[in-house]
């Protein structure tokens, strides 16, 4: 079967999980991704390495040596895309900055996964998701009031997809015009994008309400975005913003009359008697276990569910039917699969993450036509 990115050659000089994973999104759809590895350990966790470096080849080059850097520049000249997450000063020192690489190859797409973007006073801070999350402004408002700020650990995942999207956007332009360019996606931008609606609401409304956590017992709409505990200590969440539509079903399953005069309009539910309704719902959901509520929600096709732990998706047939999680394969554990379904050019698991330098000889001889002696000089043994 053909893949969407057959024939696209990508040089992957990243060293962080989020950026390597962004390049894996290209590799999963058929790009020939060649990792540049430095003869050291790659990502600190093996499970990150398996996920973020699958479907790639690995070339071991010592970029501290002139010969290593020269081989890399030659490889870039034979490629479509170069991806790095190194600092701007390091790239300049090594002659791997955009100006140098694009001088020889104007149609190169040069992508950098950064911490804080290409401009501004902090454009060379390290690409650490913790730093970017701290700057974004969401950490204080995620938890309940009085709790420490929460690090959500997801900002890098937005950035990873932005990296793949940015490369493809630039590639589209190149196919039309022949012109290459620089792409930058940062952890700050990824964290901010993930915070879209809270951030945009703050920008539009201002004031104090988005600067402090809101108690779950003080939610603006008792039927939307709320959390209620079940009798077995699990949690239910409701997303029923249009309360007029859902009130007949909800009132019935929680044993409140649909015509209960305290709650029989949207205004009463969300303004006048809001706190009373939250209280009633909290009491009602505590009367039955989570299983009961899930069954009820499913029967009535309600927009509500039980808040699960990771054991749920890992045993959920839906996740396997859609290849979001892949079954264990020949000794390798289960792994995350592919979030995008393409009917004609599906993502494929063509090869497991390579050993460091596994393809050095193959790539240097195929791509660059180097002799054995030249390869030995360029590569760390």
């Amino acid at each position: 079967m053909t893949s969407a990115l057959d024939g696209l050659i990508v040089i992957d000089a990243t060293s962080e999980f989020f950026s390597s994973l962004g390049v894996a999104l290209l590799a999963d759809f058929g790009a020939d991704v060649i990792r540049i590895d430095n003869g050291e350990r790659r990502l600190s966790a093996d499970y990150h390495d398996r996920l973020a470096n699958r479907n790639k080849r690995s070339v071991s080059l010592d970029l501290g040596l002139d010969a290593g850097r020269a081989a890399l520049r030659d490889m870039v000249a034979k490629s479509d895309v170069f991806v790095t997450d190194a600092g701007l000063s390091t790239l300049a020192e090594r002659g791997l900055d955009y100006a140098t690489l694009s001088a020889a190859e104007p149609d190169l797409i040069y992508a950098r996964a950064s911490g804080f973007g290409p401009k501004g006073p902090d454009n060379d801070l390290p690409p650490l998701d913790e730093l970017a999350a701290a700057r974004t402004g969401m950490m204080p408002i995620l938890p309940q009031p009085g709790q420490p700020p929460v690090y959500p650990q997801i900002g890098g995942m937005y950035t990873a997809v932005m990296l793949a999207f940015g490369v493809m956007t630039a590639l589209h332009h190149r196919e039309e015009t022949g012109e290459g360019q620089e792409v930058d996606v940062s952890l700050l931008a990824g964290n901010m994008y993930g915070a879209s609606l809270d951030l945009q609401a703050y920008l539009a409304i201002g004031g104090e309400r988005f600067l402090h956590p809101v108690s779950r017992m003080d939610a603006g709409n008792p039927m939307s975005g709320t959390l209620y505990m079940t009798s077995d200590g699990l949690w239910v969440t409701l997303t029923m913003p249009d309360t007029d539509r859902w009130w007949p079903d909800l009132s019935e399953i929680v044993g409140l009359g649909v015509g209960d005069s305290r709650f029989n309009s949207h205004e009463l539910r969300c303004e006048v008697n809001r706190l009373e309704l939250i209280d009633e719902l909290a009491k009602a959901f505590e009367r039955e276990p989570a299983d009961h509520w899930r069954k009820t929600f499913t029967e009535r096709q309600m927009s509500a569910d039980i808040i699960e732990r990771y054991d749920f998706p890992v045993q959920d047939k839906q996740a396997y039917d859609n290849r979001y999680i892949l079954e264990a394969d020949g000794g390798a554990p289960k792994t995350l699969g592919f979030p995008i379904f393409m009917a004609e050019t599906p993502a494929e698991m063509k090869r497991a993450a390579p050993r460091i330098g596994e393809h050095t000889d193959e790539v240097l001889s195929d791509l660059l036509g180097l002799t054995e002696d030249q390869i030995a000089e360029a590569a760390r043994s």
Binding site: Q147, L188, G220, R309, E344
Partner: protein, 402 residues
């Protein structure tokens, strides 16, 4: 200035957030994105103020930002003449994007099987809740799907309720994933001439969002499913600490050099000499005592004081900001992650979430906020689809368009 996606036309038959934001990414880079809406009330996202789905300012920031740079057509798809308009538009478009239910699309003759006959090169992109395969059939919203992934139960302090990662946090990754999938399919079409059916679901995208820890859980590390207290972190040097006026995120590796540097920044010299903390291994074993000791030291000074002390020493840390701090952060403005743009609804400039992906030669741009309902119906009917003004008049009379 040239735009990266000049010449791509997208039919954006979407509602709420997940679908529209996918179209927004394409529109930001110059694709012609046509938001197709029902004549009565339009996209549900226009009505968030009335149904108090979420807080709205004096302008509808929910709808207007994710539908920026788009055109709007108001078409009644329940009528055959409305369906005919859409079929003609499909013949002239590159992408059909939707997050409506399969039942709706089937009843309006907008299935992939029907549309690919009209345009074999069409990329037909769905943003579903749970993916194209399998048996789940229930409504999907950002938070109800996030609930299933397990992400919400693993953050925050042990014993605290689950935490929603922010309004729209799941839709945002779902929409971005769809935008990427569309570009993959367009790239493939360039070589083969053929379009295809693609889907990027909320469930798949949010499982991806969980990758940093879910990948560890899949490898057998069950602790990743549970809440972990800041009082016993894996690495006490990468942790949140309260200062005298806020919180700070210390982000250092747990190695001896970092530890010595950190100790050098404290006035309290006892901790540097404390044998419980003098190797990485011991700092791990005595992590609770160490966090308590660091709490006692760090709470004595302001966040600014620590940042001033730490910066010259190379100690990596950040104040834990709030959204107001972010709005004042030059880094966000200089990179156009925040931009100011004109809002027709209130006749003034407003600040909006900007352009998270930076392209040096064909940058994204925020030209207009979301369109008025049906603002471009007539223009597209006449200029793009070749309807006569008489026909437009008839369609209006029939109620097929607004």
């Amino acid at each position: 200035m040239a735009k990266a996606l000049d010449g791509i036309r997208v039919i954006d038959l979407t509602v709420w957030f997940q679908g529209p934001v996918a179209g927004q990414h394409l529109a930001d880079f110059g694709a012609e994105v046509i938001h197709v809406e029902r004549p009565h009330g339009g996209d549900f996202g226009r009505g968030v103020r009335t149904i108090k789905a979420l807080p709205v300012g004096d302008w509808n920031q929910y709808f207007l930002v994710i539908n920026r740079n788009k055109k709007s057509m108001a078409i009644n798809l329940k009528q055959p003449s409305g369906q005919e308009i859409l079929h003609k538009l499909v013949a002239e478009s590159d992408v059909f994007l939707s997050n409506l239910s399969a039942d709706n699309l089937a009843s309006w003759h907008l299935t992939y099987d029907e549309l690919k006959v009209i345009n074999p090169g069409l990329v037909y992109a769905m943003s579903t809740g749970y993916g194209p395969h399998g048996t789940i059939d229930k409504p999907s919203f950002d938070m109800t799907v996030q609930a299933l992934t397990g992400l919400m139960s693993r953050i925050g302090e042990p014993g605290q309720p689950p935490i929603y990662l922010g309004m729209g946090s799941g839709d945002a990754i779902g929409g971005l994933m769809a935008a990427y999938g569309i570009l993959l399919a367009l790239h493939n079409r360039r070589r083969t001439g053929k379009g295809q059916y693609i889907d990027a679901s909320l469930y798949g995208a949010q499982l991806f969002l969980a990758a940093p820890t879910l990948s560890g859980y899949l490898a057998g590390e069950e602790r990743f499913a549970r809440q972990q207290s800041r009082k016993s972190p894996d690495n006490p040097l990468s942790n949140v600490y309260e200062t005298s006026d806020g919180w700070i995120f210390l982000c250092m590796p747990n190695d001896d050099a970092s530890w010595r540097t950190l100790c050098g920044s404290f006035d309290d010299e006892d901790i540097a000499a404390d044998a419980r903390f003098d190797t990485a291994g011991k700092r791990g074993e005595n992590v609770e005592a160490l966090v308590e000791a660091l709490d006692g030291i760090i709470e004595q000074r302001t966040t600014d004081e620590w940042m001033e002390r730490w910066r010259p020493l190379g100690i990596v840390a950040s104040p834990i900001n709030n959204l107001r701090d972010l709005e004042g952060d030059p880094q966000a403005w200089e990179n156009e992650y925040l931009v100011e743009t004109y809002c027709e609804e209130v006749q003034r400039n407003v600040n909006v979430r900007g352009l998270p992906v930076t392209l040096s030669k064909t940058p994204g741009v925020v030209e207009t906020l979301g369109p008025e309902l049906g603002q471009h119906t007539e223009q597209i009917l006449v200029d793009t689809l070749g309807y006569t003004w008489e026909q437009v008049g008839e369609l209006k009379e029939e109620g097929a368009i607004l």
